[in-house]
């Protein structure tokens, strides 16, 4: 009850502060009004009143913004419906420096997060941030001035315990935890007032090589995620969402968002050693400068720093003759050789397009987070896709937000009428409401499959949901003979959702973050899914060795996509030992062989290479962990899975769902009596998105009052003119 009272007081108090009556501070201004009102006192006073009223908007604007800065922090929610994010006005500012070293197929990336305490109290900074979905986070360093403390890998609970003990003891400490494979949290304790503490995180990732292009993406912020389910009474974190029955860690993955910030800026430099001559290096969303030095490239942002509000993507293309057909990288750790293999099956010729009729179901996300540029991209992608339909196909369009709205109850043949209906339907789509993907997926997956048509579902979304695993299970169970392709949309799509949903859906994923690339990327997707797949892919290791390889079953491949396998072998391969990769293509059986013994460093200009490369063991461990979670989703005992994940992660120093990196300074820094303030560092709202649309609040004020005031101001000016005229005539008469 006490809570209710204190809450009642707050709005009432602030209501007084912005009451209609002109505040007294406005009055001195009237002294400076022209003398002209002196004589015609009645007119003058009316005019004066009008004038003061006309100044109101400016005055009130100042007041509302002052109030914005105070109110939300004070109005603590306990409401059934709405949760406030704590610490929005975080005194802890954050900037990021990123350095990437790319060698062949592997990138090692260092992310230095600088937490600056601009407040007058000691602070703890908590920052939720995205990383690439395949990132293998294996190092963390806590930099204090000139020295640094190396982070240790621990089981999650143990790491948190060590961190909290250090925090309580006044020692500097940092903790890096994983919330999702592409979402992490850094906590830093005991930052002195005015001090900057840097937490450096390092990760490895293997690059994407598809359609003849290598690519690497670095996310800078996240799209606020929709959390389905009913709110739970307790919460673990301080995000804007309560934990819910379907996303039990929602409060940990819903950091506050800000539209503007003086901080949240990033620097980026890349050292690219592609190992082959390049035709092209391009950054799609940020201008960069490229400098070449003996086959290596250095890539810098043209602007020294950029706001962290949309993904960075770098692509490079080898010259046609040097395009790699087979690559093998190896590393030996504790006498065990680890391999990363990449083999490109032969390209199908263009006249081999799939002639089988298809049932295409386009699923489009029209939730609030898609509002703005994202929906424009999604609509354009969908219109483009409709053009790609062939007369032999059938199709349907399914739009969803909180509800699922299919265009047709059943898929329809492709003709002028149905295409026209689809065009109108897509044109009229608007983005609002929640992201209830389940309904749309169930609708699309559960229609009776036709014998004659191959079902292909194209799912266009930003993936801004908190219940990814639930959806992966749903897709996996309901897929049947169908295929699901994801098209990730927006400035900061959920890359893990895109890749994994396509993986369990036995399709591929495409990322679109700008309107001008919609045509190119959708066309490429369409040509890809029209061509036959490479099937029955098998990887045969030498009979004398036991291999632990991931993925354990290589999926069917789409055109211009390579086989990528990470493996650990027992025993050292001999000079003649090879690995044999085979599969079925339209041209018949295909196979390729790679000699396992390293022959030297990765040489430029070769399309087949074996080389020693650091980090392969770590990437293998990361692949193994992902595979273990796939097993869990398919029904393997979660306790068993947890034990194996922990064992793998601890051995390879990896952050995972069950393991974290923690660093603790030896000596206490914060005096025992001084308080420690917790700051949840906000994220920048993705470029082109609107907070109102995401969080679902419509605009609920009209501009009637402003219009009336502008009207009064003009009438007042007219009257003033009239009075001036009269006075002049009086003067002339006298």
């Amino acid at each position: 009850m006490a809570r209710q009272n204190s809450k009642r007081n707050k709005p009432a108090a602030s209501r007084n502060a912005t009451h209609w009556h002109p505040p007294s501070t406005a009055l001195p201004a009237t002294n400076t009004l022209p003398r002209l009102f002196r004589r015609q006192s009645r007119w003058a006073w009316h005019a004066l009143l009008l004038l003061v009223l006309s100044f109101q908007p400016a005055l009130l604007r100042a007041q509302t913004s002052a109030q914005e800065a105070v109110d939300p922090g004070q109005v603590q929610s306990g409401s059934l419906l709405l949760r406030m994010a704590n610490g929005y006005y975080a005194a802890t500012a954050l900037d990021t420096n990123v350095t990437m070293r790319i060698n062949g197929l592997v990138a090692r990336v260092s992310v230095r997060q600088a937490f600056a305490n601009t407040g007058s109290e000691w602070a703890e900074g908590v920052y939720v941030f995205p990383l690439p979905d395949k990132a293998a986070v294996d190092q963390m360093r806590l930099h204090i001035g000139e020295r640094f403390i190396e982070g240790e890998i621990r089981e999650k609970e143990q790491a948190r315990k060590e961190y909290e003990q250090a925090r309580a003891a006044g020692k500097k400490a940092s903790l890096v935890e994983q919330q999702r494979p592409n979402l992490f949290t850094t906590s830093v304790a005991n930052i002195a007032p005015g001090e900057t503490v840097v937490v450096e995180i390092e990760y490895l990732e293997d690059l994407r090589y598809t359609d003849g292009l290598f690519s690497l993406r670095f996310p800078m912020t996240l799209t606020p995620r929709y959390m389905p389910g009913a709110p739970l009474p307790d919460r673990q974190g301080s995000g804007w969402s309560a934990d819910t029955s379907k996303v039990d860690d929602a409060s940990l993955i819903s950091p506050p968002m800000v539209g503007h910030s003086a901080h949240h800026r990033m620097t980026l430099e890349i050292d690219l050693n592609a190992g082959m001559p390049l035709d092209l290096i391009a950054s799609r969303y940020h201008p960069v400068t490229v400098t070449e030095n003996q086959g290596r490239y250095r890539i810098d942002l043209t602007d020294t720093t950029v706001p962290m509000d949309h993904d960075f993507e770098l692509t490079w293309k080898p010259v046609a003759l040097a395009a790699p057909r087979a690559l093998a990288f190896t590393e030996t750790v504790d006498d065990e050789p680890y391999y990363l293999l990449m083999v490109m099956p032969p390209a199908a010729s263009n006249d081999q397009a799939l002639l089988m009729p298809r049932e295409m179901i386009f699923i489009i996300d029209t939730s609030g987070s898609m509002h703005g540029t994202s929906l424009a991209q999604a609509k354009k992608a969908l219109q483009r896709a409709l053009q790609g339909l062939r007369p032999i196909d059938r199709f349907n369009v399914v739009a969803f937000n909180s509800r699922t709205t299919p265009l047709f109850t059943e898929s329809q043949p492709v003709d002028t009428r149905t295409l026209e209906l689809a065009g109108q339907f897509v044109g009229a789509l608007q983005a609002e409401g929640g992201t209830e993907m389940r309904g749309a997926l169930e609708f699309s997956l559960q229609r009776a499959a036709s014998e004659s048509h191959l079902r292909q579902m194209i799912f266009i979304t930003d993936g801004a949901v908190g219940n990814e695993e639930e959806l992966f299970s749903l897709i996996e169970r309901g897929l049947g003979q169908g295929r699901l392709f994801t098209v990730g949309i927006g400035s900061a799509p959920n890359s893990w959702f895109m890749r994994k949903a396509a993986e369990v859906g036995r399709g591929t994923f495409t990322m679109i973050s700008a309107l001008n690339e919609v045509g190119e990327k959708m066309d490429r997707l369409f040509s890809k899914i029209e061509q036959p797949q490479v099937t029955n892919i098998e990887v045969a290791w030498p009979a004398s060795m036991v291999a632990s390889a991931y993925p354990s079953t290589v999926p069917d491949l789409y055109a211009n996509e390579p086989v990528i396998v990470k493996a650990r072998l027992t025993g050292t391969p001999g000079n003649s030992d090879t690995v044999r990769i085979s599969g079925n293509t339209m041209q018949g059986a295909w196979h390729d062989e790679i000699v396992l013994k390293p022959t030297g460093d990765n040489e430029a200009g070769v399309t087949r290479a074996q080389a020693n490369s650091a980090g392969i063991a770590t990437l293998w461990a990361r692949a193994r962990i992902e595979s273990l979670f796939d097993d869990a989703r398919r029904g393997r005992d979660p306790v068993e899975v947890r034990a194996e994940v922990v064992e793998t992660a601890l051995t390879h120093h990896l952050v995972s769902k069950y393991t974290s990196l923690v660093a603790v300074d030896k000596t206490p820094a914060r005096p025992a009596g001084d308080p420690l303030r917790k700051d949840q560092v906000p994220n920048l709202l993705p470029y082109g998105q609107s907070a109102n649309a995401i969080f679902g609040f419509p605009n609920t004020a009209t501009n009637a009052a402003q219009l009336m005031q502008t009207g009064c101001l003009f009438l007042l000016l007219a009257i003033t003119l009239l009075l001036l005229g009269r006075r002049q005539r009086h003067a002339a008469a006298a």
Partner: protein, 196 residues
């Protein structure tokens, strides 16, 4: 000389008066439209009651009444429209399609303009009754359980609830001159006679 000056002044004055009256007219049109639309919609409501599915209040309307709201002992009697777009809110409070249907389990969210239809929200107190009459003629009574100010940049509407809730949302502060501020006043009411 004076002649020319006067003529210039005349035109200036005419312009100022013109713009002034035009702006005043625009300003006055908003509440007038808000009032008139409600009158028209009460008629549409009765038609809806007679079984015309999605009866539109005027032929070219892109929204339709979904409920009638009564509060403050009948002093407030208005029609709630479907959807929360700016166009809809000009005519009446709008039910957000993404939320639960009025009267149905879950959270039903209705938004309205603070300076027209939802001005009365500032006078609501804890325990007050709000009644919602749905198209089928059933009257659902709610009691106000929470009054809150939230920052729309940092809060989300929670649409899922095991309770039967009604949320009325308007801009805050009520008397701010500028439209488009980030704060919202949220009145939460809980359906009466719900089994716990």
């Amino acid at each position: 000389m004076r002649q020319r000056l006067s003529s210039g002044r005349f035109w200036l004055m005419a312009c100022l008066l013109g713009i002034g009256f035009w702006q005043l007219g625009q300003g006055a049109y908003i509440p007038a439209k808000a009032w008139l639309a409600q009158e028209l919609m009460l008629k549409a409501w009765h038609r809806a009651g007679e079984g015309v599915a999605q009866a539109v209040p005027w032929p070219w309307a892109d929204t339709w009444p979904v409920a009638r709201m009564l509060a403050r002992g009948g002093e407030v009697d208005m029609i709630v429209l479907s959807g929360g777009s700016g166009r809809t809110l000009a005519f009446g409070p709008g039910h957000l399609n993404a939320s639960a249907a009025p009267g149905a389990p879950g959270n039903s969210v209705i938004a309205g303009h603070r300076d027209t239809h939802f001005r009365f929200l500032k006078d609501l107190a804890l325990g007050d009754t709000i009644a919602i009459e749905t198209v089928d003629g059933v009257l659902h009574e709610y009691a106000v359980v929470d009054l809150d100010v939230v920052d729309s940049r940092r809060s989300s509407l929670l649409l899922d609830s095991d309770d039967t809730l009604l949320s009325l949302i308007t801009c805050y502060p009520f008397d701010a001159q500028e439209a488009g501020g980030p704060l919202r006043y949220v009145v939460t009411a809980r359906k009466k006679n719900q089994s716990e």
